[in-house]
Subunit: 200 residues, 2 copies
Amino acid sequence: MKVYLAGPDVFLPDAVEVGQRKAAICARHGLTGLYPLDNAVDLAANDASRVIYAANEAMMIASDAIVANLTPFRGASADAGTVFELGFMAGRGKLCLGYSNNIWSYTERVRRREPVKAVNDGRLIDAEGFWVEDFGLADNLMIVHGLDVHGCQLIAPRLPPLDPWHDLTAFEACVRLAAERLAPPPKPKPRPAMRAVRRR
Amino acid sequence: MKVYLAGPDVFLPDAVEVGQRKAAICARHGLTGLYPLDNAVDLAANDASRVIYAANEAMMIASDAIVANLTPFRGASADAGTVFELGFMAGRGKLCLGYSNNIWSYTERVRRREPVKAVNDGRLIDAEGFWVEDFGLADNLMIVHGLDVHGCQLIAPRLPPLDPWHDLTAFEACVRLAAERLAPPPKPKPRPAMRAVRRR
């Protein structure tokens, strides 16, 4: 069974090594991890971004599940490319699993980045006047409940990992779940009545 | 034909009015615009966020196309919920259209928010050492090429609109395209040879 390994990990300085570690964890659980090809393409080529898109979409279509790293990236929410891929797999009815190595709620992260205030009806609004979702969720409700409906609740550690971009504990928990859910059903035992009986 | 109207517009103070304006534009083009229900749900209810998710997913499944407002929201990228929805519709093979009322590239927006520098291999990296995609695209390549493959190139104005959250020019361009693409094929003309000829 194949699992698409989505996440902003592809933007890390050691992206290739992280991908190899993730693929090795998948292999230990009997799965094949497919890692996005952003780093295996000639970035100077004119059509580099199209080639990456086509390769990633083909890998998603070939996969039975997605494990998405939804740790917030360059803002209060998960990486936009990863979120597109999670939506894509949910839309195709594939098994969707995700983790975040950030322990705070979306609301809390917005609050730490900009002034947020409560208005008359109890809603929170940001500096520009936009409503700030305040459901105590780890990210935008479409992401969090997309996981609930199409796979399993978002997995996050209780305490912030020392190195959120290299700690793969929550990732491995997702892979373990994927292996359980994707395992082929056990073969039916042969019925005793059908056993050959030697005649005397 | 139904069109799902995705975007962070649901977080605007005048979200309901913006939704009504968008639906009216759809109606003028012969389409039914379905606007997310974030604002039609009792937010104090325990399961409010789940109810919103379920309603939005059902509307997406019922729709023939999505028109996504991908104007950057609380960061350098589009709103995470909107991006999930775009991916969901692409995964289902629906017609995907999107617009942004921001005229800058993703790279330029990241550069304006934090220090970015070029490293030896020519790649740009941000303050945390993450690679910054530098393809001259309006957002993450999965979003931009997701539109190319599943609908049409992202639509954006040449000059920044005076009010990017209320200017619906680019939105209407998407709706026009959706109407053209979703229009039923013209009925074949009756063949002249089949025309009844009155006998004398």
